[in-house]
């Protein structure tokens, strides 16, 4: 395991700083209020993406494949560094690696689509025809957070209105450029080009670029993420996202739309029974009124029986799940016997 000495994480800190900043902004602004509200309403409220329990479940399912998390990222070439370590030092290094991997696996926020801005500040109709182009004024005060910045547009017909979200993003990127973000969104994010990229199995790259380019509540971000998740679900390429920070978001999306059957089968086939049970627990948390949830609560069922109950009552691919479970049990029996 001397290869552990050659981690290239130069891009890691930059990326995780950005994600951490985004997360802090979102958690600090939204998370406190939402969690407090959920706690006061009790279990009847629909669990949100940021709840402790939901996050633990999603995090468990994401997995922690160190080899995949720290696989070489395309950066400038540096010769690998080799270190000579004792057993104890190696364990210490592995522990630190696991902590760093946990930070890298921090899930990007899942938010509702933002409302379009439609606010007129002044109407001066007599200015019509004086200017040939509209003016966009941006407030460049350094200490103002980007969400609260004043960006106004004086149109050619004299109307002074607040800028739309797209204009806002463009202006903020112009004056306060962020690494990895372009002023005009790349052509990659159009639907027809996404298809090409998906055929090359580059879902993770697309999602990373999407996170860098768009705000989490912009319609483009949500659209690209949903397209990616749909494509993965259609071709059952779940393993592409496993052990990345996008896995939680994907699971959340699928469970909300009750399309998690294929994922369940995939997990059973890879012998990830714990993940399968967490998936079903999450499903019950999100849809508490469904029959399998009620049965599970009454019988207090655990483990493989939970999957069987779920397969019988809720899923549309009952046959496949039963087959997968059978194969798993046979494999377990064979390995125990031999």
């Amino acid at each position: 395991m001397a290869a552990l000495g050659a981690w290239g994480t130069a891009a890691g800190p930059a990326r995780l700083c950005r994600v951490a900043r985004v997360l802090w902004g979102w958690r600090a602004r939204r998370g406190l209020g939402q969690d407090a509200g959920a706690a006061s309403e009790g279990k009847t409220a629909k669990p949100s993406f940021t709840d402790e329990a939901v996050q633990t479940l999603l995090y468990k399912m994401t997995g922690l494949n160190l080899q995949k998390v720290f696989r070489p990222v395309k950066m400038e070439l540096k010769p690998p560094k080799y270190k000579l370590m004792t057993e104890a030092q190696l364990e210490e290094a592995t522990r630190k690696a696991i902590e760093e991997a946990k930070e890298k696996l921090a899930m990007p926020p899942v938010l509702k689509e933002r409302e379009p801005i439609d606010d007129v500040l002044a109407e001066d109709k007599f200015l019509e025809g004086t200017e040939s182009a509209k003016y966009v004024f941006t407030d460049l005060s350094y200490s103002v957070p980007h969400r609260e910045r004043f960006i106004v547009v004086r149109e050619t017909n004299g109307v002074l209105r607040k800028a739309t979200w797209e204009e806002r993003d463009r202006m903020i990127q112009l004056f306060f450029p962020k690494e990895g973000r372009r002023i005009i969104p790349p052509v990659l994010f159009k639907d027809e080009n996404l298809v090409t990229v998906f055929q090359q199995d580059r879902h993770e790259d697309v999602l990373n670029r999407c996170i860098a380019q768009f705000e989490p509540d912009s319609p483009d971000y949500i659209r690209v993420h949903h397209r990616t998740y749909d494509d993965i679900e259609k071709h059952s390429k779940y393993d592409l996202l496993r052990s990345t920070r996008h896995f939680g978001g994907m699971v959340w999306y699928l469970v909300n739309r009750k399309q998690a059957d294929d994922l369940l089968i995939d997990m059973i086939q890879r012998d990830l029974l714990d993940d399968a049970t967490s998936l079903i627990t999450l499903y019950h948390m999100l849809h508490p009124e469904c029959p399998s949830a009620k049965e599970a609560k009454e019988g207090n069922i655990q483990g493989v029986d939970l999957i069987k109950v779920f397969a019988k009552t809720e899923s549309k691919k009952e046959g496949y799940i039963q087959l997968a479970l059978q194969a798993y049990e046979e494999a377990m029996a064979a390995s125990r016997a031999s």
């Binding site: 500040l121 002044a122 001066d124 007599f126 200015l127 019509e128 025809g129 004086t130 040939s132 182009a133 509209k134 003016y135 966009v136 004024f137 941006t138 407030d139 460049l140 005060s141 350094y142 200490s143 103002v144 004043f150 106004v152 547009v153 004086r154 002074l160 204009e167 463009r170 202006m171 112009l174 004056f175």
Partner: protein, 123 residues
Amino acid sequence: GSRLLKGYRGGHVVIRFALGGCTNRPFFRIVAAHSKRARDGKYLEQLGCLDPLPNVYGEKVAGLNLERLRYWLGCGAQLSRPAEKLLGLAGFLPLHPMTVTGAERLRRRRAAPSAPSMDPEKG
């Protein structure tokens, strides 16, 4: 004498446009400077910028550091007329009266050639 610290007799701080850019490509910086300085010379602080040519989206982009602008206005800085007009358009200051007058004059000039036999206007 020493050229290190220039002292002026009279003069005041103005917030005005400093022209930069290249041939046929102007670019203004909104700048707080002494009134006696050259237009593009040493300034106290840059408070923003204005691109007078429209971009691909048909907009003239202007940035204004309102926090520092408020500071300099509080220090007693004057504004040049184009700066006042720009801030009026932005909504930071009320609309400049010359903007309104200019709009009316333009409208009159556009209306006049089409109907030269209109009644002579007063004043």
